[in-house]
Amino acid sequence: MPEALTVRDLSLSFGGIVALESVDLSVDAGAIGGLIGPNGAGKTSLLNCICRFYQPQGGSIRLGAVDVLRCAPHQLTGHGLARTFQHTELFRAMTVLGNVLVGAHTRGRPSVFADALRLPAARRASAAQASLARGVLERLDLTALADVRAGALPLGLQKRVGLARAIASRPNLILLDEPAAGLNPSEKREMAALLLRLRDELALTLLLIDHDMDLVMGLCDQVTVLDFGRRIASGPPKTIQRDPRVIAAYLGAQYSAVSSEKGQ
């Protein structure tokens, strides 16, 4: 199975602090990958490296055949990468439709001159973008909220708008930073179902970070575990759950011995 995302030997440090150390991670095309670990393990830093917000000191990141480290952040959408953020990072002053339109920015927008002069070419391009955006809204059940200011929405809906914005660029791979954080249990179930549906309908690959173990174990095909910037385990959920190193990382060394004895 081809790999949609391949991270090899990635290292990142800020001044004297080592955030990531020789991390390997890969996600197969069409799969849902999970990235877990205690707070401060480097999960978001890894995502930020993939998005080119941080410059790693060593290693490689490939998106299929594309060498990500040679791209600027804004070029990645063109290569099929999209992302959601832990704190949604929505464009709060804009409407939901506006947010999704920005997501579709790289899909057929008119040139600045044509835009300013409202040339027919620009109008056609705008219309095409608008219908693309409305299609996305419909897919995510957000049509009724198209003209609502994004900042006025409750968190659950904001997360959905963030997701809509991400899929508007027609990505192949979506990075999701804590998509379920702050949601109540039923919202989490909805989110999980939504992610599965989108993965199937749009032939996506997903990589998600989250702290909710039920969500991650239930949704993901492969899980990678980070601790203090290093990868300590990787594999299918069932294996990860029983791995003593993972348990030690989350609960402390004294529990891993007990759990592995009890065969949990």
């Binding site: 800020f14 978001t44 930020n48 917000f53 953020f85 990072e89």
Partner: protein, 300 residues
Amino acid sequence: MSDLVQVVLSGLVTGGIYALLAAGLTLIFQVSGVVNFAQGALAAVGAYTCWSLENQHDVALVPALAFTACGLFLLGCVMQAILLRRLAGDLASSVIVTLGLLIVLEGGIGIAFGYSPPARPLSLPLPDGQFNLGSWALSQQELVLAAIPALLVGALLLGLRYTRIGATVRAVAQSARGARLVGIRVDRVRLGAWGVGAILAGAAGILIPSASTSPISPGMVDPYLLSAFTGAVIGGLDSLPGAAVGGWGLGIIQNLVSYYTPSQVTNWGIGKDTVIFALLLAVLMARPTGVFGTPIQRRV
């Protein structure tokens, strides 16, 4: 050579005023995150209050200074409490709001006291005569004028370093959230910082007429303001000693440039102010947080 020493001394006098303004600016910025463009107006308020007390109400110098200091402290607190708390976090807006306040305050002074300089100047009891250091004859007045800001800024820095209140202020400057968690009344510290910042500005305002031998006017601080900003930025807005050093350094550089620039260059439009602005631009582009500041890390 004695020319050079004289120029440097004059530079220290101007630089001292910059340092006072810069110190107040930096203190306010570190504690409340606002770049206070209204420092200039606060300085003018200080100057006018002192002048008015002395010349219109026949108050002696020392009580006039004390009253002015208290008044400025209150004014600074009021500005923070009423006006700027409502803008918490909105950095860009706070710059513009303080700019608006600068204009309003200066206009207010103009309305209250008239826009043209009053006939009687704001005079401080400064010594005349020369002080002989080896072969150099230095003006005593300039020496005193250079010393006063140094004493004030020095007192501030020592206070921040060695007193409990100082530690509290430094805590808030580093992390307001953390300070709150250990029980520090962050709001009060902010009020205090604005008050002290206002006093420093007032001190600058009171010294300016003597330093530049010009009468007071509502806009008298404006020429000093930008240089003070530049000094603060070069030194680093998150380093108080850095900002003060920046102020002094700038005063000296400005004076040297002014003294040694040939007149043809001035005709092209390049003068001491040009150098300042160019320097400001250069520093902001190369290292915005200044020589002594710490670079900003943005996390997402």
